[in-house]
Symmetry: C2
């Protein structure tokens, strides 16, 4: 799947693109079911909130067949090859739970700031792509992004290890306020299957979720192969060190998997 | 100001009424400026988050002229006299800050549950009326209400003294999930000056606010005079013990005050 001229222009100017219903209900159903199973597992890749609720399952594509297909899907990989003009590899892969009632906040941050400081990634030629597994409402802790903030490069940040159970390089309040004054705030919402792509320097965050609606999303972080990380400090399953270019699967691979999965469950 | 037949019907069936732009920008400006001054004061009625940010200023109508007028305003008092069929008095009056960046969560609760358990209020013949002082967006910690939940009477609750700096009788997750399955979730948003009225048994809560947009609202809790509280346990400035019926001011009293206030500032 290729991005249109209008989408490329929006990405350049605003720093983000939203593709509603990029995956079908049938394709998403299998991912959602598998995500729930993974969150129930007791393994080091599954991180939890202080409450014990799941927060993030890292590297699910390395131990789950459905997510392994998603990690090679042309609707996600091809636009990135188009943008970077070269092959990509998977820098990070995670399923964020934002559990019902207890899903915790993600403070304002830039992803590339984290990849640069913690992993030694040279340039912001990597990008987060999020795939909605549940309906994202305005009120269940949606991702909030600050348009145009990617034009400011890497902003100064402090290492927040206290707010939540996940240490993060976060921005200070005056910086966030200035950027939102300038670019506003976008809160993409919509049905499961929507896909949000945003520049590695886009400032974003999300509030807690006190509703009974979980808001699971998958994050693929795809990095241009030439931009591989130089000085990793995090475990391999958080910041991968296998820089092999991704070979895409067929466009109907996930659908076929979903159908045989449903058949097996009959 | 009287409620219409349609509004009375909605209140009976759904448990809430929203009146957009009930107060003008000119009227709200003076309340917002005075609220900011009050939040800067060091007094026992002003409660703070763990971060030090203001959370709630109780009884502001007893020590601030602008809020004293709001507390007698016919656009708020008259609908309640109409609903209860008798005079009302002020049970509680507070300005909630929901400060930018740090505004904390209010867990799911019913107000009457608190008034009944903590103050000995006999019947749910009291109601919260909230007046928006800032724009309420979907993303700055808006009040979320569960329509029709007022039909269930007082639900069992536990005393939460740990989540936030304000102890509250809160509902358990399965109960909230069941009620939202049944009635859905409403999130009234809009410009400063909007007024939200909801039944004392409506289940409601609000998420934290990580945006740079504060979300100050005033809460008037008006109680039918015959329903005065029997066994108060909280300080007088949290649950008032002066049951004198409110004498309404003129409809233009707040506007006139705002104009003389603006003149004095010239």
């Amino acid at each position: 799947m290729k991005l249109t001229e209008a989408q490329l222009k929006q990405f350049d100017e605003q720093g983000w693109i939203f593709l509603p219903e990029c995956f079908s209900a049938e394709e998403i159903a299998v991912l959602r079911a598998e995500a729930e199973k993974i969150f129930d597992e007791d393994r080091e890749e599954v991180w939890r909130e202080k409450s014990g609720a799941p927060r993030t399952a890292f590297a699910a594509h390395t131990y789950n067949d459905a997510f392994a297909i998603l990690a090679r899907h042309p609707r996600l990989i091809e636009p990135l090859e188009q943008l970077w003009g070269e092959k990509t590899y998977m820098h990070q892969f995670k399923v964020n739970a934002k559990a019902k009632f207890t899903g915790d906040v993600w403070q304002w941050h830039q992803d590339f700031g984290v990849w640069h400081r913690d992993d030694g990634m040279p340039e912001p030629r990597a990008m987060n792509i999020s795939v909605f597994l549940d309906e994202v409402y305005p009120f269940n802790g949606p991702l909030m992004i600050v348009p145009k903030s990617h034009k400011h490069g890497v902003l100064e940040a402090g290492h927040d290890t206290s707010t939540t159970s996940y240490p993060l390089w976060t921005l200070d309040e005056p910086t966030v306020e200035r950027l939102i004054d300038e670019g506003g705030l976008e809160v993409p919402t919509g049905k499961p299957g929507g896909v949000l792509m945003f520049h590695g320097n886009i400032v974003h965050g999300s509030a807690g979720n006190i509703t009974p609606y979980p808001r699971k999303i998958v994050y693929l972080t795809l990095n241009a192969v030439s931009n591989y990380i130089r000085t990793p400090t995090r475990p391999e399953w958080i910041a991968h060190q296998d820089f092999t270019p991704i070979e895409m699967c067929e466009d109907d691979a996930l659908l076929n998997f979903a159908r045989s999965y449903a058949k097996a469950a009959e």
